[in-house]
Amino acid sequence: MTHENEAIRLIPLFPLAAVVVSGLWLLFARGSMSRGAVIAIGCGAPILSFLVSLREVFQLTRLDEGQRFFVDNLYTWISADPFHAELSFLLDPLSAVMILVVTGVGSLIHIYSVGYMDDDHREDRGFQRFFLYLNLFTFSMLMLVLGDNLLVMFVGWEGVGLCSYLLIGFWYLEDHNAMCGQKAFLVNRIGDFGFLLGIFLLFWAFASVGSPTVEFHEMSANVGKLADTMVTLPPALSFLPAFPAWKLLTLACLCLFVGACGKSAQLPLYTWLPDAMAGPTPVSALIHAATMVTAGVYMVCRMSFAFSLAPGASATVAWVGGLTAVFAATIALTQKDIKKVLAYSTVSQLGYMFLAAGSMAYSAAVYHLATHAFFKALLFLGAGSVILGMHHEQDIDKMGGLRRRMRWTHRWFLCGVLAIAGVPFLSGFFSKDEVLLGAFAAHDLPGHMALYAIGVLTAGLTAFYMLRLHYRVFAGETRATPEVYNAVHESNRWVLMPLAVLAALSVGVWLLSPPDLWGELLFGGMRKSHSLHYFLQEAAFSAPHDVSHATELGLAALATLFALAGIAAASFLYYFKPEMVDRLTDRVRPVYDVLWNKYWVDEIYDFLIVRPLLWVSENVLYRLVDADLIDRIGVNGTARAVRGVANRGLKFLQTGFTQSYLVIMLIGALGIIAYMMRGAS
């Protein structure tokens, strides 16, 4: 059986071709392409990729179990012995799920963008530029998930970062947007710093056992040889008493995880994601909810062969994920910008995925990643529809009662809200349960019960803030001025069609692959080939768990209870007794202020890192070292000294500025020659 499949390259090729055509046009032609051409190229490319992806994934499922992977090797990219990296693509169950999400949800969002960007007239060629960036993003994201080694993955990794930067700052004439884009790029670069160190460490580690490689299959075949390898820290770092020697894989995985924290907006590098909402809403849906921000989760799953041998790193992943989940959920409780609420919700849900990945329940992480892609994309696109309808108003204090003016948006949005809240038998319910089950069953994970508890609590918080958002936007009487309210309109078909598809997926995508327990209960058992869990096992092996079905049902019931409690509380406060909200807020004013100000994390970073760095660079390095020490004292000081000597002692030589130096230097040089010759001959 051959695993070579040259069709894989087509998947990223379509969006790349679109970028090249559109880009050359923008650089060398006058004016923009026609609107129809932009739509055809811009939306056609991801749709074609989606179709090819469907076909290739179908081919993949027909391969024998345990042998399901396609490789498409283009050429040797970088090679300088012993380092070697091919430009090659890998389609296995893990990347299969990802490309379907990326091209599927991506295509829908491209179509939605046609409707959303239609009324944007800030720039002549903005429409074409927007689709160019979206296509470039799709290309990069596909490189990221299809890359067969860490380096090709890194190409996509940085590429999506660039697109994120460009798209957040898409309306760059407002300084705020450009600032937010820049922040996203820079915070991501901090993560990339870790990612790069992880690559270096892994490469030389594998080189030390005779297989210098960054290619996934080869690494996973040889990772066993590194299981007990230790790294000694240099004496300078011996103040870390608990870790006189680190396990190499733990160190490498932690480095990689720093990268994941940056890309997937986890503590402490999450601050860029809420600011990323400055970009157009389709961008928030595509990049900052459904696809790019899940890259970190994907990377941890892709490197699961290493993480599963590094319990310390996995525990860190789980704890960072769990803490981020609850931390971001608390901030989401108080935010008033419709997109900010969704942004913090995304941070929180990504934390969930890391919680699962750190518990070595990789299939649960990917499952939640997929369902989250659908319902969070739906929520963002719904929010976009609201923003369009409200003429770019995003403050939920100025909304309310929109259900009467935006019937369809209201319905589809509600599907997403219920799905993320964990209402039984919607997709979010199943994936969330899988995540919680993973944490519950991970006996080797220190504090796994605490993490489980955090997860359940977060489920309740999520249900609360999502329902709060929904009520504040759609329910009750409007708080908008009558002129604004009467101008609110339902969005056009380009916008509503993707919403409908995503709503259907948010509700029912789990039917494609229900978790084992529910498959058995509802459908009387299923073929393993239909289970995402089994499908993924050969790409990212999840530890089997020993939880009985009864316990599993109990866990689901508990989580549902919390979710329903959250829903009930939100309904009570924001639907039945809205007048109580303010009184309650006053009661907990200090807590509310902390949350409303997002724990002042941005301000703390600014004070601790940004300002000192600038101050030191300006005053110490530039003014003191460069200008004073080196130039004034060193260079010009020497010059003055020489001139002084020349003035006094060697006046007869002083014919000019340059020459005097040269003579002095020559004399010195001759002296040195004479001295050296003594030793040489």
Binding site: A80, V155, E158, S220, M230
Partner: protein, 563 residues
């Protein structure tokens, strides 16, 4: 079949080196005899055409280059000054090849870029530019130390005038600083060369300045340089120091870098582009061609010092670049940072690091050259380079902004563009023996993005606050051509670096073999990874061979499904 193919192998390098000088001398003669005098336009056009032919010549060199040979190729050697071992001796290998091609490539681009820029004394300007090209090419291909030294110094003169005549307000200070800084280093190197020649004569009983031996005769590179002796008298250490200082000033390495920002700020655009693009590479080239193979033991012993300076340069250059208000000064300090990477890779003493460095020299030449040219384009329109005088430029000059952004991304090492490949190989290489240096240097990846993106945001994004910026014209066709010509190799090297890495292989291997043979062991000196002395861990229940990972996973799948 191009007419260039008719040039015999033995003459090709000579023709390549002296072609630019021959053209301008020819123009001078024509100018002398023709009446009326030739117009500026003819000079400019002739120079541009000549530089294109010059690029063709360097490509011809590349085409004839045999990548499987590790030694010198296309060698030409004739006696010059009899009796003193001074020969006219040229040759090229995988280390100098792309620096020569880069020189040929940048010249026509720079001339095209400043087509309307230099209006004062155009003829002299053209003369100095082409003379400078001859000097640089000559230095890259000289195999006789005397000849190298002549070219090395000759280069200074046109650059001195280029900055001194066409420069900014503080040009005199800048030129003198540049000149003297470089002179100090050069003289020390001259001392080193003379000492080497006498040591060589003492050992082999012939007087020669040939660096590489010719036809079986020993060259300077074969001289045994003592590393023994008491602490204060290690010949190799002192000679290494003399060479290293000369080259470190040229690179420039921290703390010898302060001439560079001044020179760049005052220099006219074309001189800046050539200075950053090619001239600085002479320093790093000197290290890899002379300092490392001649004095390997000293280089290894002092590698930690050099690496420390390189890392300081990377971080320091980036930090200082961050707080600059003048775009050119910012780019100048970024050069200090980038060249720190090149130095870092050279002192990694492994193939990965050195090839990364060689590639990064080319990358820096293209990217930083492009940055200076692009800055020149906006300077020509606004006559200011202060970041605060701009803002919102992307709105009025979208094409310019696009090219600038691509160049920025290349400069900060975005994968799939050229800078990444070089930086990555350097860091991988350094990590083998100096992991902590690699860690510190990698932080340059963050800082590099910081200063470049801050600058880009303040220049291109945000509202247009200055009225003068509102009516700026976007790039003309000529400028688009210049910018595209620079972007093409950025993408090429980023996507398919093998074109450039493969021809280096054999020569870099030869270099490493030389270093090892001459007394430096390049093997593992610092053990990062220490496997615990236990029995090798065997993954549970493995079948004999085949695809262990796959089968292993299958087994686990079965186990799990069985429960």
């Amino acid at each position: 079949m191009t007419p260039l193919a008719a040039i015999p192998d033995g003459l090709l390098l000579s023709v390549t080196v002296f072609w630019p000088l021959a053209v301008v001398v020819g123009l001078l003669v024509l100018e002398f005899f023709s009446s009326p005098r030739l117009s500026d336009r003819i000079w400019r056009a002739a120079a541009f055409a000549a530089s294109l032919v010059g690029f063709g010549l360097t490509l011809e060199v590349w085409a004839r280059f045999d990548p499987t040979v590790g030694g010198m190729q296309l060698v030409q050697r004739t006696s010059w000054i009899e009796g003193y071992g001074i020969n006219y001796y040229l040759g090229i290998d995988g280390i100098s090849l792309f620096l020569v091609v880069l020189t040929g490539f940048l010249l026509p681009i720079v001339l095209l870029a400043c087509w309307n820029d230099v209006v004062k004394r155009t003829k002299q300007f053209v003369f100095f530019m082409l003379a400078l090209q001859t000097g640089m090419l000559g230095a890259f291909v000289s195999l006789n130390l005397f000849l190298f030294y002549v070219f090395w110094e000759v280069m200074l003169i046109p650059m001195y005038f280029l900055i001194g005549i066409w420069g900014g307000p503080r040009r005199i200070y800048a030129t003198i600083k540049f000149f003297i800084y470089t002179m100090v280093g050069s003289l020390l190197m001259l001392v080193g060369i003379i000492v080497l020649v006498y040591m060589h004569r003492a050992e082999f009983n012939v007087l020669t300045l040939d660096y590489i031996g010719f036809a079986g005769a020993p060259g300077i590179a074969d001289t045994t340089v003592r590393m023994s002796g008491d602490v204060w008298w290690k010949t190799q250490t002192w000679l290494f120091a003399a060479f290293a200082l000369a080259f470190a000033i040229k690179v420039p390495m921290f703390p010898f870098h302060t001439w560079l920002p001044d020179a760049h700020v005052e220099a006219p655009t074309p001189a800046s582009a050539i200075l950053a693009g090619i001239l600085l590479k002479l320093g790093t080239y000197g290290f890899v061609r002379f300092a490392l193979p001649l004095f390997p033991a000293a280089a290894l012993e002092y590698a930690p010092v050099m690496i420390t300076l390189a890392v300081i340069g990377i971080v320091y250059g980036a930090c200082v670049a961050m707080v600059q208000g003048d775009v050119k000064k910012l780019v100048a300090y970024s050069s200090v940072s980038h060249l720190g990477f090149v130095m870092l890779g050279l002192f990694a003493f492994n193939l990965t690091g050195i090839e990364g460095s060689l590639l990064q020299m080319v990358n820096h030449g293209i990217s930083t050259g492009a940055l200076f040219i692009l800055v020149g384009m906006i300077y020509e329109r606004r006559h200011t380079r202060e970041i605060s005088d701009f803002g919102g430029i992307a709105h009025v000059m979208p094409v310019f902004a696009t090219f600038f952004l691509i160049t920025t991304m290349s400069s900060i090492g975005l994968p799939a563009l050229n800078g990444f490949v070089g930086e990555f190989l350097i860091l991988v290489g350094v990590f083998e023996h100096y992991p902590w240096a690699a860690v510190c240097a990698t932080s340059g990846v963050i800082l590099g993005a910081v200063y470049m993106l801050w600058m880009v945001r303040r220049v291109f994004f945000g509202p247009i606050v200055h009225e003068a910026n509102r009516k700026l014209l976007d790039l003309s066709l000529r400028e688009k051509l210049v910018a595209s010509a620079l972007v093409v190799p950025m993408i090429w090297i980023g996507v398919y670096p093998s074109t450039f890495l493969r021809p280096m292989d054999a020569s870099v291997r030869t270099l490493l073999a030389t270093i090892e043979a001459r007394g430096g062991e390049t093997g593992s000196r610092l053990a990062l990874v220490q496997a615990l002395p236990e029995e090798p861990p065997v993954p549970e229940a493995l079948p004999e061979s085949g695809e262990p990972a796959q089968l292993d996973r299958l087994d686990r799948l079965d186990e799990e499904s069985g429960e």
